[in-house]
């Protein structure tokens, strides 16, 4: 199975490799929890998923308001079986299914580069923080970037 390098992964979204990464280094493919900025990829099977194929142009998982930067989901090399379910449940943006022998990529348009995801079922979670509610009562809200 071919492995994506930072150069080839970032080329999928037309972004340049950030200076702290080497274009020819392979993107590590992991099956445990991993984070990309405000996103956490964590093994977690969904209930009653409605899987959708990941199109060749990828899927925008989340886009930053102040920076315009985007976290993209793409299928890896020879990975036609990668599926996505945009569930939008609480902090979960969606669920990801990667079949045995295949990979998925979470690619960022700026400093985060790319994260490789190996076989398994995952939730892609956003991040929350305590916000200021009515009066002095705090409430939790999505972290916006």
């Amino acid at each position: 199975m071919s492995t994506h390098t930072y150069g080839s992964a970032l080329a999928l979204i037309g972004a340049t490799v950030p200076p702290h990464l080497a274009a020819l280094d392979p993107v590590p493919v992991l099956t445990g929890p991993q984070a990309q900025g405000d996103l956490l990829v964590v093994p977690e099977p969904p209930r009653h998923p409605r899987w959708e194929p990941v199109p060749a142009e990828g899927i925008t998982v989340v886009r930053g308001e102040a920076t315009g930067n985007t976290h993209w989901l793409h299928a890896g090399f020879d990975s036609p079986g990668v599926r996505w379910w945009p569930a939008e449940r609480g902090l979960v943006h969606g669920y990801l299914f990667v079949p045995p022998g295949q990979t998925a990529l979470l690619i960022h348009t700026d400093e985060h580069g790319a994260n490789g995801v190996g076989p398994g079922t995952y939730a892609i979670r956003g991040k929350r923080e305590e916000g200021q509610g009515v009066g002095s009562q705090p409430v939790s809200q999505f972290v916006h970037d």
């Binding site: 991993q34 984070a35 920076t67 400093e111 580069g113 790319a114 705090p138």
Partner: protein, 335 residues
């Protein structure tokens, strides 16, 4: 003006369907015009009559009622004419039926047309990402890097897709960029990074767009927490420097721990003392360092508020993603 005419000519030559070219003097002006432009765009794209019907019916209940009335009257007269060809005893049923069909058809067909929110969604898709081009390569590349632009013409930026309507904005009078890892991005320090011909300015901090009230006014550490956007807060802390911010805010360390998956970095949990007159009481802050450095090499430090009851920084980080702390401790990699 000659230059604008030349731009218009080029655009009309490139896009066969272009029917209307609108010039604005700044993106702020464009945003103010967005709803109006959406309406205009729908008029052009959907043939005027249907767009008028759809705009009126779904946007305004009173108009829907008037259209329904119109449909009923039309149906009534259709029924009257039809009834002349049938025995008089059938006339009331024919007239009533035709009027009813007129009413239902008008309202049902109107209801099938897109609603205001659906039209807004169309507008967001079209207008959310201004497509821009300007003479300067540095300018274009900087905004392109911010995911905001697409090159279409060398003398103006285009805010809408190449369909019937094209929105163009004149070039800014002045803009400031920096090179970060070989890539240009907008950065004006604490001065405006862009000045537009209509006098509006935009503040950018190392590629992060800042609201004017953050950039132009003095702010207190407490007011930082009222800023919605985490990247903007990061920029605010960077403006004064993390140490100086912590000193001014009188932050008190509660606990520190290694950040799982982020070698050499720590998670720091602080208390922000309540200030007299401040609406924010008992705030607990989690301070983290990004897994990836900025393109210019500096570490990005984020300050985010977590529930006051949390005492373990890892638990606080896990709370942010709503996962158990033991899952967060298994984090293999943070980028």
């Amino acid at each position: 003006m000659d230059r604008r005419a030349a731009v218009e000519r080029r655009i009309r030559a490139a896009g066969e369907e272009v029917e209307l070219v609108v010039w604005v003097e700044s993106p702020a002006r464009f945003r103010a015009l967005r709803d109006e432009l959406t309406r205009v765009r729908l008029l052009y794209e959907n043939r005027p009559r249907s767009a008028v019907v759809r705009g009126v019916l779904r946007g305004r209940p009173l108009s829907t009622a008037l259209y329904g009335l119109g449909g009923t009257i039309a149906g009534f007269w259709f029924g009257m004419i039809t009834a002349a060809f049938f025995p008089p005893v059938w006339a009331p049923r024919i007239v009533f039926g035709a009027a009813l069909v007129g009413l239902v058809l008008t309202v049902v067909l109107g209801a099938r047309l897109p609603s205001r929110s659906e039209r807004r969604a169309v507008a967001e898709r079209t207008f959310d990402t201004p497509h821009v081009s300007l003479g300067s390569t540095a300018w274009t590349a900087a905004l392109h890097g911010a995911g905001q632009l697409r090159v279409v013409d060398r003398d103006a930026w285009q805010a809408a897709d190449y369909t019937a309507i094209v929105v163009l904005c004149a070039s800014p009078l002045e803009f400031t960029t920096e090179l970060a890892g070989g890539m240009p991005r907008l950065h004006g320090g604490q001065r405006p990074a862009i000045r537009w011909p209509d006098g509006t300015v935009e503040y950018w901090w190392h590629g992060v767009s800042l609201p004017a009230d953050v950039a132009e006014r003095e702010w207190s550490p407490q007011s930082l927490l009222q800023v919605h956007d985490s990247e903007v807060r990061r920029a605010m802390v960077e403006m004064v420097g993390w140490r100086e911010f912590a000193r001014r805010a009188d932050l008190r360390l509660v606990a520190r721990a290694a950040d799982p998956g982020n070698p050499g970095r720590e998670l720091l949990l602080y208390d922000l003392p309540t200030q007299p007159g401040s609406a924010i009481a008992g705030a607990r802050l989690l301070v983290m360092t990004n897994g990836s450095p900025d393109r210019d090499g500096h570490d990005r430090i984020y300050v985010e508020r977590v529930p006051a009851g949390l005492t373990d920084p890892v638990e606080a980080a896990a709370w942010q993603y709503e996962v158990p702390a033991e899952i967060y401790r298994q984090l293999e990699r943070r980028t």
